[in-house]
Amino acid sequence: MKELFPLKQVMGFVFSLVLTAVALSVVMFDMSFAMGMTILLITAFVQAMLQLMVFMHARETEDSGLILANVYYGVFIAVVTVFGSLLALIWGYM
């Protein structure tokens, strides 16, 4: 039975629950918008990295360089698209 629950994945799961709880703190406590966003950005991206490395086994094969390069490229462009759109459509008018 024990062999079915590898420590690494169990710890990953516990850690992801902890991160969720930390993220939840932004609505539980009164804090500034900047502070809240900082917490959310950190917890969300750490959580994503956790899934990627622990659960998705992104580093286990000979292709891991390609896989990670591809994911990072996608994330980079997605972030550029999100912030670029906000810049062009909202912040650019301020």
């Binding site: 292709d63 996608g74 670029g84 759109s85 810049l87 062009a88 459509l89 008018y93």
Partner: protein, 648 residues
């Protein structure tokens, strides 16, 4: 009866009725011909169900040429209408429909198909592979594209064409200002073709990354393969944006959502923003493979290896990233602040740098080369100056302050045609002529080809240079007519003359294909150009398994080395070969997508449900299917090989 009224053309004219008849007759002729010559079985077995990348490439090619004809006729009609002031050939609605379909057909259904055609045929051969990574998905890609293209062209005769420009800006494209189903066609046909393109992107990335011949490290890939890799990378990350934008546009039109409306918080400029987040990378999707083709052709016909291989690769990687950070330059006049415009002006000018590096690399390759003026080489040499003019005017447009003057004028139209025609069309014609012998086993006639080249290149200059002047004088794009007092008449007449020259050029190419099919020698060997990369190392015609033994490579020009420097390409012994099975599922599934799209366009919900269930059934069938492909026996391989060798 009420049910059928929705299919009527809202704004008919004799031209449209004539095309209805023409389409009907053509369809009947095709069906009758296939039945009479008993070719239905052949068509199904050899083409509709094929998963062979070479055949799929050829089907893409035929579709692209058909779409080139359709888009070209649109272009001629526009130029004819504008040739004289206050002409009556087309009314404003028809003119709107024609410039819309011209843009969509040329970009999405012609240029994209053409580059994918050449990638399909050439890339697996260039890397020494037997097929792509996912042959069946490749067939699905083609059929989705094909059904999307057919659906879009159907708009002409059923329900009316889209008329809000190839960019389909909201609120013009919304229900209020475009009440006909035309814009539904736009949203859904491009969506279907776009899904096919996205699948191609993933397929070719995996193919190029994982299926290269032994010894072919990334930095030893031929330049066309490099350009295909980067292009497909951009496809994979740009097309999802289009998918989302089109889905939102469709929902606005069919389900009453408020994304791009002008009330209830909707934001019409969000469409423009998303469209160009996809649209600008799309420009590089089209032009990078063209750069790859020019690199192959220039080094082959200058008899020199490509100058600055590493900088060529680096510039493409930089372009792939920068292409995603410049999109706002398409709407500098939206009203955002100077800060935003400045940022995107700078990124825009930055992207000209890697492109410039490539131009210099080609020039240095030519320098001291022993140049052979073949047709592909002439297109490449014609490309350099004309493209540079198009590119430099792009930098002018990229300066946001100056752009207020150029925006939406014929200056812009001149700019992007002078980029796309030499950058893409010349490259496609050059690539077609260059790889034609590998595809079909004979060469296109050089003398006729040169006539076509001169008509096309001079025609391009005559057609588009005048637009710089009339644009700076204030002629807006997309206006269906103008008064005599504007003084635009002369320049537009000149453009019309150029357009006719271009058309003559294309007719000469068609004649060349006919002439060469009848008279050209079939005895050309497998390497008629004395070329440098692996696609020329196999036989002509290419056997279905491409290479009987997988070549081994130690440089980016392994075939050249094997001819002149004593490199041994084929070391292994013949073995039996594993190949994928043909499948009818991609075709059937895409046909269901056609029904789905059509039903969506006309809001026939029962059709939507039935075709969706059919698509799910196809997916399920695929999931449960056990298909391990088939083996070509050793005897069969030996027989084919000796026949092909004897044929030389």
């Amino acid at each position: 009866m009420e049910f059928f009224e929705r299919f009527a053309i809202p704004h008919p004219s004799p031209i449209i009725y004539a095309s209805m008849v023409a389409i009907g007759i053509t369809l009947l002729a095709i069906i009758a011909g296939l039945t009479f010559f008993k070719k239905w079985g052949y068509l199904w077995r050899e083409w509709l169900t094929t998963v062979d990348h070479k055949r799929i490439g050829i089907m893409y090619l035929i579709s692209a040429l058909l779409m080139l004809f359709r888009g070209g006729v649109d272009a001629l009609m526009m130029r004819a209408q504008l040739a004289t002031p206050e002409a009556q050939l087309l009314d404003s609605q028809h003119y709107n429909e024609i410039f819309t379909t011209h843009g969509v057909v040329m970009i999405i259904f012609m240029a994209m198909a053409f580059i994918i055609a050449l990638m399909n045929f050439v890339v697996p051969l260039q890397i020494g592979a037997r097929d792509v990574a996912f042959p069946r998905l490749n067939a699905l890609s083609f059929w989705l594209y094909f059904m999307g293209a057919m659906l879009f062209n159907l708009s002409f005769v059923i329900g009316g064409s889209p008329s809000s420009g190839w960019t389909s800006y909201f609120p013009l494209a919304g229900n209020e200002f475009s009440p006909s189903v035309g814009t539904n066609y736009y949203m859904i046909a491009i969506q279907i073709a776009g899904i096919g393109t996205l699948i191609t992107g993933i397929n070719f990335i995996v193919t190029i990354l994982k299926m290269r011949a032994p010894g072919m490290k990334l930095m030893k890939m031929p330049m066309f393969t490099w350009s295909a890799l980067i292009t497909n990378l951009i496809i994979t990350f740009a097309f999802p944006v289009l998918t989302v934008a089109l889905a939102m546009g469709t929902m606005d039109r069919l389900f009453g959502t408020q994304f791009f409306t002008t009330g209830n918080g909707g934001m019409d400029m969000l469409w423009a923003n998303l469209f160009w987040v996809w649209g600008h990378p799309e420009v590089y999707i089209l032009v990078l493979p063209a750069f790859g083709i020019y690199s192959e052709i220039i080094s082959t016909f200058a008899k020199r290896n490509l100058y600055g291989y590493k900088s060529m690769v680096a510039s493409m990687v930089i372009i792939s990233l920068l292409s995603f950070v410049v999109w706002v330059h398409h709407f500098f006049t939206m009203g955002q602040g100077a800060m935003v415009n400045s940022i995107f002006s700078i990124t825009t000018m930055a992207i000209a740098v890697p492109t410039g590096i490539k131009i210099f690399n080609w020039l240095f390759t030519l320098y001291k080369g022993s140049i052979r003026f073949t047709v592909p080489m002439m297109y490449s040499l014609g490309f350099l100056p004309i493209f540079t003019i198009g590119g430099v005017t792009g930098v002018m447009l990229g300066m946001s302050a100056a752009d207020y003057q150029y925006h939406n004028t014929m200056f812009l139209v001149a700019h992007f045609h002078l980029v796309i025609i030499p950058g893409v069309v010349f490259a496609m014609l050059a690539g077609l002529t260059y790889w034609w012998p590998k595809m079909f086993g004979f060469m296109l006639n050089e003398r006729i080809g040169k006539w076509a080249f001169w008509f096309i290149s001079v025609g391009t200059c005559v057609a588009f240079f005048p637009m710089f002047i009339s644009g700076l004088d204030g002629q807006a794009r997309r206006m269906y007519t103008y008064s005599e007092s504007t003084g635009f008449g002369f320049w537009n007449m000149l453009s019309f003359v150029g357009a006719v020259a271009l058309a003559i050029g294309f007719i000469i190419i068609v004649y060349n294909i006919y002439y060469s099919t009848r008279y050209a020698s079939r005895d050309i060997g497998s390497d008629p150009w004395d070329a440098r990369s692996l696609e020329w190392a196999t036989h002509t015609p290419v056997p279905e398994y491409n290479f009987a033994t997988i070549p081994e490579v130690d440089s980016s020009e392994a075939f050249w080395d094997s001819k002149y420097n004593g490199h041994k390409l084929f070391k292994g012994k013949l073995k039996e070969i594993h190949m994928p099975n043909n499948s009818g599922v991609p075709f059937i599934m895409s046909a269901l997508f056609f029904v789905l799209g059509f039903s969506f366009i006309f809001s026939i919900w029962i059709g939507v449900i039935v075709s969706l269930l059919g698509i799910c059934a196809c997916l399920m069938h695929r999931s449960f299917e056990k298909d391990h492909g088939r083996h070509i026996s050793l005897e069969e391989v030996e027989k084919t090989e000796s026949e092909l060798r004897g044929g030389k």
